[in-house]
Symmetry: C2
Subunit: 266 residues, 2 copies
């Protein structure tokens, strides 16, 4: 499992990778993934608080992470995030606000720790674009004030016509290495890093259809993990639009974890 | 003023550029810039509704645009945006929510037209990152439903270590040309487009200091317009942190418009 002196991420167990990092959220996530045998993240793209909480309860037992877009909730309140935190503790998953912060450090710091959402207070993880340079990471990092918090760099996107070039991806990887105290990994569509500290999250995962009308392109859980190098698969509409989100989550969890087990033993 | 068959943006008056486009927000903005002799946008980075409205009233007479980060208001309400719209009508400026949308089309559509902020309802303009591909523009465009709305592509950033390469900028320009019904121009730090239809907005403008602790790098209004090709200069802390924002806005307005007048006549 070793090449060029470093362990290859693709061949390491989640359990063994926990010891490769001191980042508190990475460690917690590796721990949950091993304990629950789940590398499934559900994208909770719903617009009502009641739907969000109900979905979190249903899929909670099968996921390591719940991904939110808190700014699409038409009836947001501080109570809903309090309740969400309770559900996360009960089912042992982390909360990941997919904010895609993409501004200068001073601005993202205010967006992260202020406004109605006060994201830093309840989201273990957030996404950032590497585009502005690492001020975006330093800005967020300055708000964590001792709480275990981290970010994921969106390094490659799944939408058609994306401008995430090879050079862009390299820039994001460098930014992660230089800011590994706060960066826990990447959103990516391919095996962009061998580093076992970093966790690779792949969105746009669904078993059925292959695109939507606004440019999203899908990949199956098995292909995401085995061909593209995903550690965590992010499934949205495949679960949320299912008649039975609970069974759908169980199915995706098993399929994705089986693919991971094949990967580490092959 | 002509080269390669197209009029050079840098040499055209704002008045004459109005007739080069059918995009309704571009036309309105060119009209305001000519009428008010202002190419100043104030970045209203404040965290209280009362401060936002008070600032808008003070700088209103001197600006063509007010740039907001609505998600940093700790006491956001639908009343504050209603009041802001009234002030914008009274002083004849447009409202520009600097959201930097950076997700797939389906997601940004929900973020733009949903949640507590319902941005499409009150912001004439929003910023997008070109990174996801033009699904981000099509997603937003699908929400406008007949209202005059538009977006600005963040093509180049002012922060240190930014990943906006030449190739990235070219990709954004192509995206603008192919989506000119909704894209009104670019956020940029240099003369990235000659096309007189597109308006170039340059942030990070300030007369005094040259950087902040989180990587923001500043340029003067004169240098922004004459050396970097800005049409509209975006001034934040230089005005909002001033003891007298009203006089500061007047000063920046005159300096930036004088630079523009020099540019078109030189």
């Amino acid at each position: 499992v070793e090449s060029d002196g470093i362990m290859d991420r693709l061949k390491c167990t989640f359990e063994s990778r926990e010891s490769t990092t001191v980042q508190p959220v990475s460690r917690k996530l590796f721990n949950i993934m091993s304990a629950k045998q789940s590398n499934l993240c559900v994208a909770a793209d719903v617009t009502k608080s009641a739907e969000l909480l109900s979905l979190a309860e249903k899929v909670g037992p099968y996921i390591c992470l719940l991904k939110t877009h808190i700014d699409i909730l038409s009836d947001f309140s501080t109570e809903v995030v309090e309740e969400l935190k309770n559900i996360a503790v009960k089912h042992n998953f982390l909360i990941f606000e997919d904010r895609k912060f993409g501004d200068i450090g001073n601005t993202v710091a205010t967006q992260y720790s202020g406004g109605p959402f006060n994201i830093v207070d309840w989201a273990d993880l957030v996404t950032v674009h590497g585009l502005p340079g690492d001020g975006v990471i330093k800005g967020l990092g300055s708000c964590a004030s001792g709480q275990p918090r981290g970010c994921i760099i969106v390094s490659q996107m799944s939408s058609s016509g994306t401008l995430t070039s090879d050079e862009y991806i390299k820039g994001c990887c460098k930014m992660a290495e230089e800011n590994a105290h706060f960066v826990i990994g990447f959103v990516a569509q391919s095996n962009i890093s061998k580093d076992p500290r970093f966790i690779v999250f792949t969105p746009g995962v669904q078993s059925g259809c292959t695109s939507d009308v606004l440019g999203q392109q899908y990949v199956t859980p098995r292909a995401a993990v085995l061909e593209r190098g995903a550690d965590v698969v992010i499934v949205g509409r495949g679960i949320t639009k299912s008649d039975d989100p609970c069974s759908a989550a169980k199915h995706y969890k098993e399929e994705a974890f089986k693919a991971y087990q094949e990967r580490i033993t092959s």
